[in-house]
């Protein structure tokens, strides 16, 4: 129901509706990282799928590059966090 077991990159790609190479690229740009203790065979939290889809929507819709999309995601997270804190 809540946070599930980490999954392989291919699962994230399928859930986000994108190709695995694209997920790799986002990982290179630091959008998200492998779950702790899985550096040998990297696994990722399933919640990253929606984050990835969001970055990709922003990149395509607003004409950003990868670094820009990752930055936008981080700033949006930041804003939500601050808004939640002031609620």
């Amino acid at each position: 129901m809540n946070e599930q077991e980490p999954v392989e990159l291919a699962v994230i790609a399928r859930q986000a509706g994108v190709r695995v190479t694209l997920v790799r690229r986002y990982v290179e740009f630091g959008l998200f990282e492998p779950a702790p203790g899985t550096s040998q065979a990297p696994l990722f939290a399933p919640s990253n799928a929606s984050r990835l889809a969001k970055a990709e929507r922003l990149r395509r819709d607003l004409g950003l590059n990868y670094a820009g999309a990752v930055l936008a995601c981080e700033l949006l997270d930041r804003i939500r966090e601050l808004e939640n804190r002031t609620d």
Partner: protein, 306 residues
């Protein structure tokens, strides 16, 4: 179905003689403002789709020319017929599409108006499948429902009704993820997820303090003084609780584990709070006994006051 005329210039906020550069600039700025991942307003997504459609038409000189031509004809017709007719009739009369023409647009991202205008499939740029947006909806529950779990019918964006099952022991503020129940994907991409945010409604009897609950326990003066076993309501029924002799108002009687579910397992506690209650009217005999008590007692409740 009537197809409404859309003023794409108005959508982008540019004059009719705007240059391609003006249009591009206006679109980029508004797209950044109304992108549904950026803007949390409920109508942002609708607005963003409109922007995309307006940009699709106006940024392409060929489509813009066609739109301008049809638009001015439509307005001319509106003047002669007194606006009694809709754009769809206009299209049919002009011999543009109608009938069995099928339009293929990514999950209805573009309006019927656009479909009428460019029904030959000159449509949107295809950019491959992409997962739909995640949605969030509020799940308001009574404390009893939160403890027991159950099923609820929710209306989500777009008027869709969905049945959701929620487990026993959900907490205030908890997110429940329903995979694939969010917005549809783009170009065959998977749907996003729906997140239900649990909110526990205030309860007429129980006051919530985090995972713990408080409930008043009214007792008679003699019960408080002599001790008694009294019924106390819980979320699942009634418990019998011992009020020790010599309990004053405000004394907390803990019922361990009868509160709400805790994060990471276990339950909070239920606190019965002693509330000494006196009869509004005394019988002659009661009055006599209280007067007698007042006479013989040297109890001073205000003794320790500074």
């Amino acid at each position: 179905m009537a197809v409404e005329f859309k003023d794409y210039y108005e959508v982008l906020g540019v004059p009719r003689d705007a240059s391609q550069e003006d249009i591009r600039r206006a679109y980029r700025k508004l797209a950044r403002t109304y992108h549904p991942d950026v803007n949390q307003d409920s109508d942002a997504e609708e607005r963003f789709k409109e922007l995309g459609e307006a940009n699709e038409v106006l940024s392409d000189p060929e489509k813009r020319e066609r739109y301008d031509r049809l638009g001015s004809q439509w307005r001319a017709q509106e003047r002669t017929t007194g606006s009694g007719e809709n754009f769809e009739d206009f299209f049919d009369q002009q011999g543009f599409g109608g009938g069995d023409v099928r339009f293929e647009f990514g999950d209805g991202d573009f309006s019927d108006f656009f479909g009428r205008l460019f029904g030959d499939g000159a449509g949107m740029r295809t950019s491959g499948p992409l997962r739909g947006l995640d949605r969030e909806a509020l799940l308001e529950l009574s404390l009893e429902d939160a403890v027991a779990g159950g099923r609820r019918r929710l209306t989500v964006e777009g008027g869709r009704g969905i049945d959701v099952n929620f487990p026993a022991g959900v907490r205030d503020g908890q997110l429940i993820r329903l995979a694939g129940k969010g917005a549809p994907g783009r170009d065959g991409g998977p749907a996003g997820d729906l997140y239900l945010r649990v909110r526990l409604k205030p309860h007429p009897t129980f006051r919530r303090q985090g995972d713990d609950l408080d409930v008043d326990v009214p007792v008679a003066p003699w019960e408080a003084a002599l001790g008694a076993t009294v019924p106390v309501p819980t979320l699942t029924g009634t418990a019998r609780v011992k009020v020790p002799a010599g309990s004053s108002s405000g004394r907390r009687l803990r019922l361990r584990g009868r509160g709400l579910a805790k994060q990471g397992g276990g339950h909070g506690d239920l606190h019965g709070i002693v509330k000494i209650t006196v009869p509004r009217h005394l019988s002659d005999e009661e009055r006599e006994l209280f007067e007698k008590l007042a006479e013989v007692s040297d109890f001073d409740p205000r003794k320790n006051r500074a």
